[in-house]
Symmetry: C2
Subunit: 303 residues, 2 copies
Amino acid sequence: VTGARVGIDIGGTKTQAVVLDDEGGIAAEAKVPTGFGAEGVIASVRDVLALLSMPDAGIGTVGVGIPGAVDPARGRVTHAVNLGLADLALGDAVAALAGAPVTVENDVNAAALGAFHLLGYGPDRSLAYLNLGTGMAAGIVLDGRLRRGAWGAAGEVGHIAVDPEGVLCSCGQRGCLETLGSGSAVARQWPQGGDHPVRSLFEAAAAGDALAIGVRRRLIDTVASAVRVLVLTVDVDDVVLGGGIASLGDRLLDPLRDALRDAESTSPFLASLGIPDRVRILPSKRRVAAVGAALAGTAPKSP
Amino acid sequence: VTGARVGIDIGGTKTQAVVLDDEGGIAAEAKVPTGFGAEGVIASVRDVLALLSMPDAGIGTVGVGIPGAVDPARGRVTHAVNLGLADLALGDAVAALAGAPVTVENDVNAAALGAFHLLGYGPDRSLAYLNLGTGMAAGIVLDGRLRRGAWGAAGEVGHIAVDPEGVLCSCGQRGCLETLGSGSAVARQWPQGGDHPVRSLFEAAAAGDALAIGVRRRLIDTVASAVRVLVLTVDVDDVVLGGGIASLGDRLLDPLRDALRDAESTSPFLASLGIPDRVRILPSKRRVAAVGAALAGTAPKSP
């Protein structure tokens, strides 16, 4: 394949695109608001491609990351509630716009590939990209290859239920990790936070508000549980935090590492696994999902 | 390599060995009691090798499975409490006895390879072998290769803690899945069961004993949780149950599938994953760990 690798990250509010250079760096990028429904989403892709400075060689491959259930083999989005999509042949639609082969991938899986690349990992390394957005889900890259799983459910740690008496989750179970360790969980428990509940929560907690400290504690403890689940199942080298909550940076990472160390203090088994030092956050400006989408466009497929 | 593949499964009470034929079938087998401590364990290996009918071609490779922490790269057992081993160069000792290269593997990992082979799976398939013995741990085979994990902790689902108020686990955490979903958990909660607590428990529960029914319920629900954890992280094609508790066969599998279906009844998400039909038990006579050990002796290494 000649021509550049293009990656498009269709987010809930904005659609970002990148062109990768031969070394995998970002040669060009563009951004537009994301429209709603099939027509709106496809229009956003058309608009962002029009804004993108293309290299002379043109487009070689396109990868599209989208928040929802996808069928990568057929290039279809089967379910993307927040974007108003039910069943859409997104791959075909984008291929018609770009004049190049298109791969459609779940956005968290795409971001996992992007993180793997941006961290400079080689094919003997593994990571989980734990996305803390409205929901909680992980993308898993093992030995350099994305693992989607036999039924596409790899990394769905947000729907591991740990408390039968817990809050009803959108998935229908009770007490899923997502019900305490996500943006929607914070919004529910900290309604006074308005449009930016997580930021508001952390500010109130830092100011000593007892309720906020409790909600933040549950958030941190639940993210710590999710990190341990990822280590005690796939045992990736690193767990990279992403999504809106991860933009808190050290305000999230420091107490998270403390919580992981607390658990180690009573468990020599956990202490032997070095988990606190295996958690990290990527700088948020690095376009991880769009870069990963570009890589998904050319990556060898793995179940 | 010419010569036969030999597998040795060093269990807590008995040591089993098999010779594989060229097609991977069992050409010969033998069994001896397992001795205690370094000398006892090595004597057991010597004795079982002496009993084994060797093919004319002699021994090509040897794989040894052992219940404990191993360093496969160096062929060392670093920790095997039940066998009285602290740090032992088991690979070198067995190589001296067998006159062939030796691979040392954790017994659950070996059994996972054995199950994969005995089920006739090809390299595009994945499974978890969930061992329900004194403890709970899984071996994971992804796309035909054993996944040990970056720190050797892949499949340690028994030490995922789900209840901060739960029972203290041998690992130092509280409320690990192992504290309710293992043979030691049953022995603790059903002390009247004597030397065969699980069998006694299931008999008492079948006879209507209310306490037994409760303990069995918690066991089944916890195994169901572990199965879901494996699907929602690595999403293997199948979860194969092994270990002493799995010898209950359908008396375990039927209520386990019921529990998995119960969880589906309120969760369309879970229902979309077909988990009840992905759980199975291998016939117990199939020497899964010894066969897997033989395969570990020749399998390509994966982190």
